[in-house]
Symmetry: C2
Subunit: 264 residues, 2 copies
């Protein structure tokens, strides 16, 4: 659900705010447990993760030093003390084998061309009996009323750009079960977390339909146009139609997938 230019940090904060309960509420780690947050980015999920497990010791890593610096600033600003940040690549993790009790991965696999290999690397630093939690979106799960081919085309630009930039897969959410199973995790359980928005839920209209999803699509406007994926007028029509779903007779649906697996 991220990447690309423009209003990025603001959008991620909005998203984290609106979706915190939906995505996080059932993730609590025991006191003293060692938890790896792999790919923390700008820390959008880190604060919630750390607050929900205040006595767990969380190591948050990211491949981007800039993102990590922003995450550190936010987490420090929130007065959180159980997170240590470390600059690291998921594919070359600087931890001993079986070091962690639990691993948490949120909105990361969607950006990787080899998500299965990443899961194998993560599994190596997880102790037997430890768990991995993976949360991903799925842009193919978005549908809305009124329907709009222009809006679909604009969303497809985002999917295509994510594929083009490093081989990501914006529709990976639905694949978490086969991915975690193929990586050899046991007792894999996936629960979809559907966001349903109509005008009886004005906070969600604002926080999700407009400021998270549509803003995210809008954020790739220049990239999509310069990559030749869309003409400006067609893209703008798609964005208008996405905002149209936020009106009083509009409806917007999106599903996140949360998977839990255990290492044998």
């Amino acid at each position: 659900m991220h990447g690309y230019q423009g209003r990025e940090s603001e959008r991620l904060r909005d998203q984290a705010g609106a979706l915190v309960d939906l995505l996080h509420s059932d993730t609590r780690y025991p006191p003293g447990s060692q938890v790896l947050e792999a790919g923390c980015g700008v820390g959008a999920q880190t604060i919630t993760l750390a607050r929900n497990s205040p006595h767990a010791r969380i190591a948050s890593v990211d491949i981007s030093a800039d993102s990590l610096e922003e995450a550190r600033t936010r987490v420090d600003g929130a007065g959180i003390t159980n997170v240590e940040f470390r600059h690291a690549d998921i594919f070359a993790l600087p931890f001993d084998p079986a070091f962690f009790d639990h691993i948490f991965v949120c909105f990361v696999l969607e950006h990787l061309s080899r998500p299965l290999d990443a899961l194998a690397k993560l599994k190596a630093v997880l102790r037997p009996g430890g768990t991995i939690t993976v949360i991903e979106g799925d842009h193919g799960s978005a549908y809305f009323h009124p329907e709009s081919p222009a809006a679909r085309a604009a969303i497809d630009c985002l999917v295509e750009l994510q594929r083009a930039s490093g081989g990501g897969n914006a529709m990976i959410g639905r694949q978490l079960y086969p991915l975690l199973s193929a990586a050899g995790f046991d007792a894999v359980h996936v629960s979809p977390r559907m966001v349903y928005v109509d005008s009886s839920r004005p906070d969600l209209v604002e926080a999700f339909t407009k400021r998270t999803f549509t803003a995210m699509v809008e954020g790739v406007r220049e990239s999509a146009i310069s990559a030749g994926l869309a003409r400006p007028d067609a893209f703008d029509a798609g964005i208008r139609d996405l905002y149209r779903t936020a009106e009083s007779d509009g409806v917007f649906c999106y599903t996140f997938f949360k998977a839990l697996g255990t290492k044998r």
Copy 2:
């Protein structure tokens, strides 16, 4: 979720079995209340409806005398005594205004070209303060892994046939909020009921992915071909790809929408 030829009754029974809890568990009517089930068809929902509210008096109507006869046989066979069947058209209901305390409508609006007018007719026989419950599917909510353009094209045949046969709308689920609101119901609340199926849930793979959804699409094969919507080989490839989503690394998602509204 129904209509068309082929394995119809069997499929509807499977569906009712697998989805009973998901769709029905929060619908219970008080003892003595008068409930209208509008469009009961072959009674796929009637038995559950009646069992969950054993002391409510249920009037189940349908426009098809044949379906009604099958429903009566099934309900009688189940030993249920709180249902009366009546042959009637939703657009010409043989009941006094404000006669019913509650109305239940399941998989009916999707078949009507004027769902809003139907809701107005239903509202007329509902007492002030009474509730309407509407459950509909949405074929645009179906997505799966592996993705398949052929499978999508086969599903689109079903959507197109439903539109052609009487102006139905197979993607009406997402529209329940605006529809009930436009019909003047108060306090409209819609809750999506997502069916998520992976191979850790073999009963659902069998009952939903294969015997409900894919069988339903497969059921329109001859109609789709004779209507010129698909070539036999292309349609069959789509069906194969839908069955493919039922294999061990496949995933299938579908969402039903349940709406509750109150008459002022």
